[in-house]
Subunit: 308 residues, 2 copies
């Protein structure tokens, strides 16, 4: 079948660092247009925004949204109403209500909606999932600690309502845990640390339980300088399973495992091509639901003002 | 068919003020047991907690949970695992993840789960819903302002994480709006006012939009002394529709309408009897989802400490 003719909306850091190369490397999909307020690409149709893109005489089949989550609903809705398949960067939206509305609209229109979680596509995730399906789990703990000044310099939107603060990286960990855990879980305690001058938290300490009562914990912190930590440890009756480096490396009972080369975004576009071909959607919003629960159930702790 | 043999778990203010009388007045259901740490009823089997209840030699078909939302998941799960139908007071749980897990468990077990919203069963709600289905809506505004010292004296749990603060009454308004609005909507702005010494907000100012862009607003406040306000106003091209007194009175184009006597909890138990008879569940969690969204998207404003 013909390649999916794709438009990217939002040509910021994530689009340039990840999406453009991944699309280039993926069979069955090609970039034909871009909508961006500030940036242009050579040899590609360029538009100011999605309204201009959809009104123009350029044939596209699908739209990949790489804009910040606040305001992504309007773009996704416009694309679906115009009959385009839609791929969403994480998080899929600023609210749960809007992403469930998009899911319903895509179903009604017979279009594919793909709520991506790039960390779920990391190399160690599926091997870990397969191992855990065979083992008896005792507990799981997440440590996700990084330096926001390094990773998000001057990104003001991330500190605004809807930007999620430390949950912007933390939701990556949750997207892995919801994938590898054989059993569903829910939040039982949430301590959120907010800088005095910011709307979003800079740290979060969470405790979850599975339906059968297994304990899970997660520590997210944006104040870590020096070595960065993106680790998930699972204690099982048969030994320890550890994912490090954001899900790209795997250790089983202390032994490093050989996993495939990391290609998160290529996996996402490969999956999107398959979803469109099969007329399916992939809309697991559970990571965002856990984040919403963490805010709703959160105990707020105020800390020093944060300046970039 | 035989009456549903019901047990109530949690014999606090809401159970005594509303549930006991409504069960007594409803055909097809009878109270046979109670689980409560502190209270007993005469001529009814009394247990300390749900574990004792389920372990005992008392035949029950269903459980109605009237305990605070924090901790209700364990009780509901135990009841479903024991093969009992479950009715949940509002809000249905402390997190969205847990209530969706309960929904899945009830489906798996072939049992009825009823997530009740008592304000939805108020007398003016269904007439308003029918009217709005025929009209062209321009906007909707909620004003839900009451005196927390009068309505929740000394109820510490309501200020704790999971107690929801001013969203405990506010979710009643949202349960009505989600029922009467023909179109779904999502949050676009949330300002939350927290007392310096409390984990839950004392006031909230919210703005929503429907998929097609109609504006909805909601003002929740727990600091209102004097007359109390539980009003929903809908501006339509054909005139104004107003629900007052928490959904029990209806005004159409300024004219008061005659609605049936208010019997919220009797309607809930009537519906529960019907759900069990038909082997169905009613699990619309959208009011709780809007509240979670309001916390996640909320801008926090700190105000004076609140003392009971």
């Amino acid at each position: 079948m013909a390649s999916i003719r794709l438009a990217i909306v939002g040509l910021g850091k994530i689009a340039r660092d990840q999406h453009l190369g991944a699309i280039e490397a993926t069979d069955g999909i090609e970039l034909v247009a871009v909508a961006s307020r500030h940036a242009k690409l050579e040899n590609i149709h360029c538009f100011h925004d999605i309204a201009d893109l959809l009104a123009a005489d350029v044939d596209i089949d699908a739209v990949s949204l790489c804009t910040p989550p606040q305001g992504r609903f309007e773009q996704a809705r416009a694309a679906l109403e115009a009959g385009k398949h839609v791929m969403l960067e994480k998080p899929p939206g600023a609210t749960l209500s809007e992403v469930f509305a998009l899911e319903a609209l895509a179903r009604e229109k017979g279009l594919s909606l793909y709520a991506t979680w790039h960390s779920r596509a990391a190399a160690a995730v599926e091997p870990a999932r397969a191992l855990l399906a065979e083992r008896t789990i005792r507990s799981l703990s997440v440590e996700w600690k990084e330096d926001v000044r390094h990773w998000h310099p001057g990104q003001a939107w991330i500190w605004e309502p809807g930007g999620l603060g430390v949950f912007d990286p933390g939701i990556n960990a949750l997207s892995i845990v919801t994938r590898i855990m054989p059993e569903k879980f829910h939040l039982v305690r949430s301590d959120l640390t907010f800088p005095a001058n910011r709307a979003a938290p800079i740290a979060a300490s969470l405790a979850f339980e599975t339906g059968s009562g297994l304990p899970l914990t997660a520590e997210f912190d944006w104040r870590q300088t020096g070595p960065q930590t993106w680790d998930i440890r699972v204690e099982t009756e048969e030994g320890q399973i550890v994912l490090t480096h954001g899900g790209s490396r795997l250790f089983v009972d202390g032994q490093p495992q050989i996993v495939e080369e990391d290609k998160e975004y290529r996996n996402l576009y490969r999956d999107f091509v398959a979803l469109v071909a099969e007329g399916r959607s992939d809309t697991d919003f559970s990571p965002l639901m856990h984040v919403a629960d963490a805010f709703m159930l959160g105990r707020r702790i105020q800390t020093d003002a944060f300046e970039d």
